[in-house]
Symmetry: none
Subunit: 217 residues, 4 copies
Amino acid sequence: MPYMKTDQKTENSLGKSIPDDPRKRAKYMAIIEAALEAFSEYGYHDCPVSKIARKANVADGTIYLYFANKEEVLISVFQEKINRLITDIEKLTKDCTDSWGKIEILVRYHMGALGNDRVLANFLQIQLRQSSANIRRGIALPLKKFYLLIENFVIEGQKEGVIDSFINANIARKLIFGTIDEVISCWVLSRRQYDVIERIDDVIYILRRALIVDTAA
Amino acid sequence: MPYMKTDQKTENSLGKSIPDDPRKRAKYMAIIEAALEAFSEYGYHDCPVSKIARKANVADGTIYLYFANKEEVLISVFQEKINRLITDIEKLTKDCTDSWGKIEILVRYHMGALGNDRVLANFLQIQLRQSSANIRRGIALPLKKFYLLIENFVIEGQKEGVIDSFINANIARKLIFGTIDEVISCWVLSRRQYDVIERIDDVIYILRRALIVDTAA
Amino acid sequence: MPYMKTDQKTENSLGKSIPDDPRKRAKYMAIIEAALEAFSEYGYHDCPVSKIARKANVADGTIYLYFANKEEVLISVFQEKINRLITDIEKLTKDCTDSWGKIEILVRYHMGALGNDRVLANFLQIQLRQSSANIRRGIALPLKKFYLLIENFVIEGQKEGVIDSFINANIARKLIFGTIDEVISCWVLSRRQYDVIERIDDVIYILRRALIVDTAA
Amino acid sequence: MPYMKTDQKTENSLGKSIPDDPRKRAKYMAIIEAALEAFSEYGYHDCPVSKIARKANVADGTIYLYFANKEEVLISVFQEKINRLITDIEKLTKDCTDSWGKIEILVRYHMGALGNDRVLANFLQIQLRQSSANIRRGIALPLKKFYLLIENFVIEGQKEGVIDSFINANIARKLIFGTIDEVISCWVLSRRQYDVIERIDDVIYILRRALIVDTAA
DNA sequence: TATGAATGAGCCTTCATTCAT
DNA sequence: TATGAATGAAGGCTCATTCAT
């Protein structure tokens, strides 16, 4: 590579470049946030790139200086958000010695984060679920990271004897994630206004039943 | 009026008309099946109506003799499939006196039906999850019927004392549906070829743990 | 022509065939009247053939047993109506010995006929003015007959010394027809409801001024 | 706000925006002229937007950067042309103290403008007469302005005692406009090639007869 | 003769993407 | 680097017309 553009870039997990230059980084993030809002408001397919540009206060063409195409914008939004979620959960659970406790933290934090941010929830639960193969591919890796986070907590718990060892850890992950997913999705799509936060305890209760070894005896 | 000129129609659950005339009915179903395949293959947004028409061996315009627009085709495919699923499950569970047994039948049948039909699974789990408000509205009612089927089994079980009464039945429904959903979705999207059917017992095991009152004592 | 369809047809001025068989003639006229209504209601270009068929209580395809295509339907409606108008005026003026009187009869009858039949007026003044070359060609001949009727009255009047001989008779025809045309068109398009019939005397007054030799002296 | 980013627009009589930026204005006018030609050549309904684009040397999509839809293109062409006509006539008649003289100027100028521009004449007399309610609505206002111009000349003339006060001024307007309209329309549609300009004196002669008070005595 | 289901050509319009400035 | 005007491919949908019954 005999020639290199002057400004440095950091490669994220998907090989896409995130600008290091703080001014560029700011515009990059502005687009990300604008896209989150716009996708959430119109839906991915019904959201012209121009809407994102307008919300980000940049020209349409500017989007293409930071992202290869519209799909990549969607993927990048997801990556930013899911990575943030993962990082936060990792921090929160670092000092927790109890593996069920970690799961509880994860569930509470995840549900809380989405339950308090309808725009984000709508994006992650609804708009993201577009089916273009490219998008699915772009989403796969960071999502897997999140999956593994959960699955590892389960495996830990099984090693500790807290979680039933007969359970298939992968299925347990799907149970946990699938339940949260369903609860949040229903909430986002529901016309009735209610508070998902209030459902967290119910979710915890049933997940605990599903996983935890009965130590009553 | 001894003779009716206009052909009869049956109203489905959403008030849309399905032709009774067997020849029309056949073409209607041909389009439904073609659309299922086409949507599953290309994804809703990347599937031109012409692809459906070609698969159904009809002209593009013919689609519009049976459906108001592309959205309605998607919705109708869903309705046909989910109604079939509901009907089948209702039949299978009719003679079952055990409410946990009913849930087990439902889970096994649902996972089996999708696990043996990747096209249908792909359609229901992936392609359907489009976010156009109209589509969501069209899907809502029959989906709710399916939800209620599950939820009622749970409530029955709680009345019988088989299922833990402290559980929020609505959350239990979301746990059951969400878990299956996640398991099937991951399978459909997975590049690795494996058999979800083999995972059914694991799902049943963990769902039983989550719901059933421990009668060990 | 070695072979001839059994039912007889009369060729009209444009070479189109009008059925002689009374039952066919009835259906032909039913379509004509339905088309008049339908074109008037929706406008030629926004009126699908199916709307005409429905109004005429026949199947779409039946239209094409009587008319070569949609354009021909429009042309035929015009021919029927304008020929009727011409015939009526010819009858009414036959016994009139005064050529200005004939013009007055023509103007009063024409304005009365349209002023009392908004559907017909809308058709003739608005919907008919479509610009497809074919339509214009089809309309030209019977329209010319009407033009000549007027123009001949003017020429007669000039011969009789009643109408100013310095006037270009063709321009006089255009003045008469153009004025009526404008008055009726404005009325049809006007949102305000008023009665054109009441304007007839004003029109007669100004036309008389334009044409009649002042015999005051 | 010392600097305006968004380019300025001038509102025309119908509230539609015409670009002020000279480069945009040029392209706007290019489309207008191309549309005039294309509509005149093919007729509104038989003229695809792509034909206009080709004539204007722009891409199809560009049309939609300047006009909301095809209808608006038609309406805008009319507005440009009729406003030009009105402005010109207003200028020409400004210094004329004689109200019949103003009418004569108007008639001569209007007939001359169309008689020397068959494309414009064909557009205004034939293609424009489409019946879509939207189009008629869009055309109504500037057309009314033109109507009033004529009518006011008549009323002036009546006040001055030059024009017969027994004449209904509105009918007089319809006589003037209707006659010109008919003369021009016949000319445009005529296959024979003749010069309408040569008919102007005949029109003036008959209109004068219709309107002017005989001052012979 | 009558039907009306089926056809498929054709068009308006959108919008992701490019590129001259 | 940023702009936003311009592009043009693509697709949903309509409807005049046909033809098997």
